[in-house]
């Protein structure tokens, strides 16, 4: 048929010259299909879906977020949205919107820079607006969730800046406007606290909680004593949230809880160890990018590296250890099929443990039994870094 097909391609009108020989069992041809035709997504994503940040190392300017159906082996890639140049991604729970904090240049890699928050519609994945961030100071860092967070019931967002002076820009998402900046000398990352405020970690080991007034200005500030030993028990910057409690794990495997329900951060002072195990060279330590996750029941999941030592904390892990925060003990170990870099647990009735690997593969496990369920292969992202359950 090849030559026939060719001839048709250049002169389909002459197609009657074409005489396929084989008989055929189908009376009617396949129906014509309508164009244009563009897919849409549900306004509320199913609980088996996650949002993956794809850093796209070989073209950082062209980073993106990917909506991934972890229940589908064949079609996990549901859609993508732009997340340009060390962008941060934030997914709303009270609105059908995703927000990206990005940077653009008028000549791709040169020219005038514009920092902006882009608003994406979850159903159409089209950009529906943007909020320009003034001063060109948006923090550009490998994707963390706590550089871009909600407060005030998701009506506002907090964006971290680094020049290298630290500050936070308060943005009214509903009003599509910037409310102002808050200088935070020596303090980094934002953890939503109370109704309208946040907590930030400071370089002297203290935590500072800031309450905002209705105009987005500082209403009150409270700083704890130094409780973070950054030298010997540094906490990974990304916590697992169990309700209003932020659970952090340290490079050396200590688990620490902080209650963010009130206006002021409240350390639970109930630290415990992820535990130890044989086979460590020299020891098991947390390792990877997003290394701690929680499930709906409050259990914690920590990605563990058997080659734990100073400097191993981004090398990924071969097991996930499951922790009971009430009993303060490890209740399960899940062996992974590959070296994981980031983990997340879905909110499905049968929750799944999602493991993004360093080789771009995403694997899915039964969070309760640890049984391997399926792999999504490399079909979702080039460089999956953060994973966000719906």
């Amino acid at each position: 048929m090849a030559k026939c097909a060719i001839f048709l391609a250049v002169a389909t009108g002459a197609s009657i010259l074409c005489h396929p020989l084989a008989a055929q069992p189908f009376d009617k041809p396949l129906a014509e299909e309508p164009v244009p035709n563009v897919a849409t997504l549900p306004a509320v994503y199913p609980s088996s879906w996650i949002i993956v940040s794809d850093f796209n190392f070989t073209a950082i300017i062209d980073g993106r977020g990917v909506v991934v159906d972890t229940s589908s082996e064949s079609e996990p890639f549901k859609g993508m949205f732009r997340a340009s140049q060390f962008a941060s991604i934030l997914s709303a729970t009270t609105k059908s919107e995703i927000y990206t904090a990005e940077s653009f240049f008028t000549r791709l890699s040169e020219g005038e820079k514009t920092d902006a928050i882009t608003i994406w519609d979850k159903s159409t994945l089209k950009s529906k607006g943007e909020i320009i961030l003034p001063g060109g100071k948006r923090q550009q860092i490998v994707t963390y969730k706590n550089t871009f967070q909600f407060t005030n019931g998701e009506k506002w967002a907090l964006v971290t800046n680094f020049t290298p002076a630290h500050s936070v820009t308060v943005v009214d998402l509903d009003g599509r406007k910037v409310l102002g900046d808050i200088e935070l000398p020596g303090c980094s990352m934002v953890y939503p606290t109370g109704e309208r405020g946040f907590t930030t970690f400071c370089a002297d080991g203290t935590l500072t909680s800031i309450t905002l007034d209705p105009a987005g200005k500082v209403a009150a500030t409270k700083t704890t004593k130094s409780i973070h030993d950054i030298d010997k028990q540094a906490m990974f910057a990304g916590p697992a949230m169990a309700g209003k409690v932020a659970w952090f794990v340290t490079y050396r495997g200590m688990v620490r809880g902080f209650d963010l329900a009130g206006n002021i951060v409240r350390p639970l002072n109930a630290d415990f160890s992820v535990g130890s195990a044989e086979g460590g060279t020299p020891e098991w330590r947390p390792g990877g990018w997003q290394v701690i996750a929680s499930d709906a029941g409050g259990k914690l999941y920590v990605l563990m590296n058997p080659s734990g030592k100073e400097g191993s904390h981004k090398d990924g892990g071969t097991e996930v250890w499951v922790l009971d925060t009430v009993k303060k003990m490890r209740i399960a170990r899940i062996a992974l099929k590959g070296v994981g870099a980031s983990i997340e647990v879905t909110r499905e009735t049968t929750p799944h443990l999602i493991v993004a690997r360093g080789d771009s593969v995403i694997d899915v496990y039964d969070a309760a039994t640890g049984a391997f369920v399926r792999t999504l292969g490399k079909a979702a992202a080039f460089n999956p870094l953060t994973l966000t359950a719906m």
């Binding site: 001839f7 002459a14 084989a22 189908f26 396949l30 164009v35 849409t40 062209d62 079609e75």
Partner: protein, 186 residues
């Protein structure tokens, strides 16, 4: 030839949507000097990532039509509709064989191929509409060139970015839409 009329009319609407009347005439003028009976427009790009034809990796889970008359895995480059496609397969990008992914815009005019369905032995006219407005999907790059000709005959060349007449010219992926039947088997 009812199929052809419908399809030509569809296409003309498409061209009219995508281009100014003046440029359309200029272009048709050019095309008319070529061998094509009516315009079959190119849109595609070469595959430098593999000397083969590409498509999804072998270990990808298949996407099937569930219709015995439309056989084959739509994530693989050897699927029958892809005989003249060139780009990322939308089936792997959040769309489908005939649907653009969410947030993209389908190019109004496209390069047309004619591919034979191994099940019913009919030759179908397949429209490779591009999906535009988001960056390279990066999944299932596929390149087949039956009937492809140099850019001197744009209506038969598949290297051009056909995200033209769309809001954004950024290319995301390519579909393979059945828009007619070229031949009924004897």
């Amino acid at each position: 030839m009812a199929d052809f009329d419908k399809f030509a009319e569809k296409l003309t609407r498409g061209v009219a949507r995508g281009t100014s009347r003046r440029s359309l005439l200029a272009w048709l003028g050019g095309a008319a000097t070529g061998a094509a009976v009516f315009p079959v427009l190119p849109v595609s790009r070469a595959n430098a990532q593999s000397a083969g034809h590409g498509g999804g990796s072998a270990d990808r889970a298949p996407v099937l039509s569930g219709n015995a008359q439309d056989p084959g895995d739509r994530t693989q480059c050897d699927y029958w509709r892809y005989c003249a496609i060139d780009g990322f397969l939308c089936t792997c990008c959040g769309g489908s064989v005939n649907t653009c992914p969410p947030g993209t815009e389908m190019s109004p005019i496209t390069w047309i191929g004619t591919c034979t369905n191994p099940a019913d032995k009919r030759a179908y006219i397949v429209s490779y509409n591009d999906c535009c407005g988001k960056s390279s999907c990066g999944q299932c790059l596929c390149n087949r060139n039956e009937g492809d000709r140099p850019p001197v005959r744009p209506q038969a060349n598949n290297d051009t970015n056909w995200c033209l007449g769309t809001e954004s010219q950024i290319y995301n992926c390519s579909t393979a839409v059945i828009i007619g039947v070229a031949t009924d088997p004897r």
